[in-house]
Symmetry: D2
Subunit: 366 residues, 4 copies
């Protein structure tokens, strides 16, 4: 898990910048024999694509994925799968003025002091655009997990700025531009985001993501816990400042009599654990929630310094999402899928022979 | 970062169970020439040791660390440092009855289904006792970071159950049995915990931990961000269900105009980022907050199943912490120190030649 | 070092098959600020390119490398460098008949039993074509090492089949199609290889490769020795069956009085160690020798089995190198450069502060 | 595979020095449920123990292994297995004079320049004593592989100095102090080694090691080939200067018509491949041969320099093996077992679902 590679056995190595020639990744360790074509990957890429509504960046990227290797006659061969997405709509001129200063809340400052130079075009490597290869790689994991274990992943926007989005059903998620599990409040959210744009401002968001049909037994006790790897993957997503599993921060004020999920032959009676006990999956749904900070590139003047260290004022133009949380649900699903996939392979490596006399109880009691 | 090893270049490989002969770790990759003896490690072990007040488990463990290797004539040689802590107070009989059932909220169930068998003595590998080797390893990192970069780490209990602990100053932390940065509310907390024990119940906690004097430039853009590694390490600590960096979940309802920390020649004007932008350290304090769930082993009857899958009732006796958050502050410091140490080495590996014309601004404006 | 990734800090992740759309790699961990363009990489690719003489496969591949990421305004940014080489001359029909049987000495059999299916076109992933991305990645490492440490790498063919090639000087290497450090015996070698082709046969080779200007102190004592990593990299090259460091197998019959290289203030008096003692570089030249087996694809009938397990006879047509050792010198240089580069970064990570009172002695005595 | 850890899934992390308090290792990733006690490990440790004949170092070490963790009621739990061996016979005074100079052929010089300081007692970390934890860890792998796959490992001395040891049968190996597969030449070897000691000299050796009953399909095509990992492990053993797989350096002068092992329904007709094709196991015996250099610590004056860089003469006293190859066979077996074990787990992780219609052919034709 060093640098630009995610995972131990199902490994994704990511490359690219927002305005370079191309972005992509290498997916190493995929089981052989899986039917795979670009058509399996494209739908997830389309879900996270920019320019699909007025509420997100208007950059037009087709995000057409090309499979460069690892597939023969429609099946994975077990060798690395190279995935390539060409950048087509780079308007680098928008960013020319940014090279002399640092946007508050942006990676400009840290990149310069880490590397001594930086690619300012569209945020360079720090752009949310780099989540596209992650999503593409995860589409492969999701397909395999669905076929092999019946596992599915679903994420949705549960709060945007001050608006807590009431949960009305997962069936609404794909019917609005926010990935909200809600139908009643969409107009209110649209008005809120429209106002943000007018104000030259941005806001944060909360996204909930779940995995259903997760095998029991994934994860190591210490240090490589399933929830630790989930936290790593989620906190690694652009703009994320917090991660919760199950009851999360609500656990702080809970009592032990309430928190511990009771077991019955018919299933668990609750899921405060969020599907993980002692770092190992229980078979219940994995429940993850992430906090996403407001976009740092906003059309409002902010205090900053220039390259010489002198005080200045910076204001960002160009195309930006007013709330990166709007497009985050498919990406959070992808990250969760990659972690689960990796642990499924790790688990059968070490414990492929394990047989337990009594089978696991159902994921949840009726 | 697979299995029982934490870190890429400064690597800690942990072994042991609560009631086995010994626990310990191997610290690999320590820079050579550091003055080191057991006396550098013992104080941190003593801080997290059980049995030091009536509010924690009464298990009596001296936690005496022995350095087995990697030190010659009082200095680290650059080769692996073996650290050994013998278990001395194992009362395994307390746990004999636990082998037939599963404590709600405990790892009993997941261990069995992962491994096909489990060590029930004192929680086995899932015991909080296994944080001792982590703390011991981190004492080495803390010493090196202090000498080389002036970095320091401090954690404190900021909430226990329903009680939010007002911050009154870091100087109070070592003067009460809770690692609270507070002097006025200690009696109230003591009464609260006493009542919990009487009720056979437990509660959660929030612990805040900070690193001061962190070099700018630590962390990789993607995926191996500094905050991602912090989240991995913290979520990997027993009972942790949530991790925040900087403003954390408060970011959700913030606006961009508020959240982005402005820069001036005299320093940053705020620290909503918690010391990390784009996955890379800013040089400001690293600010981390963790949610700890209530202890699952409680003296109250709970519904569960037995090994045959039949319904039963389980009640835990033996020695347990009513709130594992009470002893968590030194451990959270340790985990943060290990992550920072690893990234300092990673940074000089890749960017050891980088020179920036204008030096970093101060960590905070006056 | 799992799967398709080579190196710990300077990491190359390779993808592609002989007859897929493209091959390439991601180079992660490159120090920032290095001037880099495709023109720095292309010459090394051209040296190992097929079709350059009648003695190698007649496949025509331009092997034009495209830099997809990690470079901004002509300098490396420190983020992953994506390298892409399109396959252009795939004549897959040549291999259609191979899917039913297994070439003796080829990976056909093992791929099928590992993966359950295989890509037979041009050897698929087992093709020597996959050394191109390795060579491209190493060109970056070589440039950095040359600039930073003055390190250089040179490989040459020292034996082909029964012909031991007398060493006449490194200046001859680029003047003949065999990378031989020899001018007098080229006609004899050409006749030998011409005869092999006429016979429908192939032969083995020995290639020697050296690194000059290697810093002292690279490598870990155990297990990650510099020579262990060299052996890993070299044995990982197609068709290699043996690796020697320094005196190699000649050490077996040596005495201690002869083997141990004596030190003088003017330098070492010999280099039986091949530049490595205790797994750590001495500063002398790294001396490596590899044994390359005869090409397995030959135009001569051999006994084999078919997919049903029945006896059959196989004869390979298509375009093949009669001796893969002919083009191996640039690849062996590349692998050695990648290992040295990785260890230079590892060494400054752990031991960047080390200062020794007396400087190292010269690499060799006059 | 960085630093002191060997393996990806079955991981051995080694610690200790020759004359420190203890040596040992942590074995992480062992499958659960394996019956294990110290009695399973001790026999292999006893085979490589010093002081067992007049031909090896007279250091008396009982090498008694203690299992610190990872075993409950006689079975592995799947959690890390800590192994500890106390050092008991350290006579450090023998080495006091070595701190001012560097033994030719020894790691003295490279350790100093890498780390800035070194532990001179008994070679410190560079001592062959550190192979004991490797052997102990491998005993666990060997037991699991034997039970699960029927795999066995055997190594023997095939050449010592100028004496090529005729192969007379594996049954002789444990009946002489050299691990020679020979009964007729033992007296001659004893006389040869006695003379070496009298001369204050040392000699090299060749050791052959084989694995039988290896599953087909182990290893990755690129870079993590099975033979590459074997080469890594073997070259990482003290004093090894060369590694061969199968025909090894003899391949250089072979023709393709000879080298490629023909397949028949009854089995392979030869094993020039040494059990690996394209980096993946064929199911035939793995055949490995290693070259071991002469011991560098000899009782004869050699030219060297002192700490100030001035010319001096060094002569080593103390207890040394005149030929480290004498005790190398059990260690080479251990390394081979660890590599096979790791790859068996890796293979079932990625390809656990693979089913091939026709089963593999027998390892060898009758």
């Amino acid at each position: 898990m060093a640098g630009s590679t995610l995972g131990t056995l199902f490994r994704v190595t990511n490359f690219g910048e927002s305005h370079g020639p191309a972005i992509g990744c290498v997916v190493d360790g995929c089981p052989p024999g899986l039917e795979l074509s670009a058509a399996d990957i494209q739908p997830d890429l389309d879900r996270r694509r920019p320019g699909t509504s007025r509420h997100v960046t208007q950059r037009q990227e087709e995000d057409r994925v090309e499979i460069l290797s690892g597939v023969f006659e429609g099946r994975t061969t077990g060798t690395p799968i190279g995935l390539l997405i060409r950048n087509t709509d780079q308007r680098s001129k928008d960013y020319a003025n940014l090279l002399d200063t640092f946007r508050p809340g942006h990676a400009d400052y840290t990149y310069l002091h880490k590397y001594g130079l930086r690619d300012p075009r569209g945020g360079g490597r720090a752009s949310a655009r780099l989540t596209a290869p992650t999503v593409a790689a995860a589409a492969i994991a999701k397909k395999w997990l669905k076929l092999r274990h019946g596992t599915s992943f679903v994420g949705h926007l549960s709060q945007i700025g001050e608006i807590v989005v009431p949960f009305e059903g997962l069936e609404h998620i794909e019917s609005n531009p926010f990935f909200a599990a809600n139908a009643s409040d969409i107009a209110r959210i649209e008005a809120y985001v429209d106002q943000l744009r007018k104000d030259g401002d941005s806001c944060g968001a909360r996204v909930d993501v779940a995995a259903r049909g997760v095998p029991v037994g994934l994860g190591d006790p210490l240090y490589d816990k399933l929830d630790a790897d989930i936290a790593f993957a989620m906190m690694g997503l652009n703009a994320v400042k917090g991660v919760e599993i199950g009851a999360g921060f609500a656990s702080v004020a809970q009592r032990g009599k309430t928190h511990g999920d009771e077991l019955t032959p018919e299933g668990f009676l609750s899921n405060n654990a969020g599907g993980v006990l002692g770092g190992i999956s229980t078979g219940q749904d994995l429940l993850v929630s992430i906090a996403i900070k407001p976009t740092s590139s906003i059309r409002s003047p902010r205090r900053s310094i220039d390259l010489a260290g002198e005080a200045t004022v910076v204001e960002t133009h160009g195309r930006h999402d007013p709330c990166v949380g709007i497009r985050a649900a498919p990406i959070a699903e992808a990250l969760l899928a990659l972690v689960v996939m990796d642990h499924v392979l790790l688990q059968r490596a070490q414990c492929g022979d394990v047989r337990v006399a009594t089978p696991p109880i159902p994921a949840r009691a009726p």
